[in-house]
């Protein structure tokens, strides 16, 4: 129908759509690529062997404080019961809780380190999602991971303190209220 040697001209709308896409990519390049690069670099930095030190130390400190409160209550209970600090019972009970504290702190720190490594891999997964143009999964941050670690530490501490006869003897007394106040003595 058209005749002539030249083919049909390209639709003008096609050029406009291509220009629109080009504009979107230019804006993406200017604004979001540097941010993506920052995230990629941060994620790769998480694989540094020392990157999780802070998270691990924080988990250990928080776990230690859970046990410190219980140990303080136990000492008060022992004094109130008139127990001799040099007696075998006091030493044994105190040592048992200190050992439990060491185990709890060690495992809490180790758990935080492993959670951090998992987060690094999760970050890599998110970078790959970005590259594929897929929606990125939400990531939990340091605080979320710390809290779940502390929940585990708290549950373990509750079980450790339940074995302390001095603490058991003050449950239900005035001092027992303090024992319950940090969530270790109560049900649930």
């Amino acid at each position: 129908m058209g005749g002539g040697g030249d083919g049909p001209d390209e639709l003008e709308s096609k050029g406009a759509l291509a220009e629109q896409a080009a504009n979107a990519l230019r804006r993406y390049g200017q604004t979001f690529v540097p941010l993506e690069n920052m995230f990629i670099q941060d994620t790769m930095d998480m694989f540094d062997p020392n990157a999780s030190e802070n998270a691990m130390a924080m988990a250990q400190n928080q776990t230690s404080s859970i046990y410190e409160q219980g140990l303080g209550d136990m000492q008060s209970a022992q004094f109130n019961m008139g127990l001799d600090p040099t007696s075998g019972r006091v030493k044994k009970e105190s040592s048992a809780l200190r050992e439990a504290q060491a185990r709890g702190m060690g495992l809490a720190g180790a758990g935080a380190g492993i959670d951090y490594t998992d987060a690094a891999y999760q970050g890599l997964g998110n970078v790959i999602n970005m590259g594929q143009g897929l929606q990125t999964n939400a990531m939990s941050g340091n605080i979320d991971r710390l809290q779940s670690g502390l929940d585990r530490s708290g549950a373990q501490a509750k079980s450790d303190f339940a074995r302390s006869s001095s603490l058991q003897s003050i449950a239900g007394t005035g001092a027992g209220m303090a024992y319950g106040s940090y969530g270790l003595g109560g049900g649930g």
Partner: protein, 172 residues
């Protein structure tokens, strides 16, 4: 074709095509990739009879190059982390678990010593040799290995990244 006329010819091509030709002939310097803004070389004018098609083609080439430059290395890194039993992070994780457990023992040993010292007593206990501490260390190391094995499964099966499934479906 002389180097000069080759340069002129490349200048006539679209940004991405010009870059590809330039790279092929080892000339370099034309439309080189900028990782901070990989789309800065896209141009709107200077195309031939089908500017929309040509521009679209340039956009697809730019996206592919950006993917190859910024994201493919990350995919390769993740794939390279997978081992027969877990990931390459296992060694570092085990070292951290060991250091955390032993560090905690030393820390608590010191706390116990100071606590007893306040009552004028000498601390004779050795937490490091206690069954609880040693059991905690061994349990922690075993847990670390299990977590690493789980991580490998998560990477391969897709719950953590689905690297192979996504690589297969690459199509932007």
């Amino acid at each position: 074709m002389s180097q000069h006329s080759m340069g002129q010819y490349i200048q006539m091509l679209s940004g991405e095509s010009g870059d590809a030709v330039s790279q092929f002939y080892g000339m370099g310097g034309y439309g080189s990739y900028d990782p901070n803004n990989p789309y800065s070389n896209i141009r709107s004018s200077g195309y031939g009879d089908n500017p929309g098609d040509d521009l679209y083609a340039d956009l697809i080439r730019a996206q592919t190059r950006d993917y190859n430059q910024r994201f493919a290395p990350v995919e390769n890194f993740l794939a390279g982390q997978i081992t027969a039993t877990g990931t390459k992070s296992l060694g570092d994780d085990l070292a951290r678990t060991r250091s955390s457990s032993l560090g905690a023992v030393a820390n608590v040993q010191g706390q116990q010593g100071r606590s007893m010292g306040r009552m004028g007593l000498t601390n004779t206990s050795n937490i490091a040799n206690s069954t609880t501490a040693v059991g905690g260390l061994v349990g922690g190391l075993n847990d670390t290995r299990l977590r690493d094995s789980d991580r490998r499964t998560a990477i391969l099966s897709g719950s953590m990244s689905g690297i192979s499934q996504k690589a297969r479906s690459t199509g932007q």
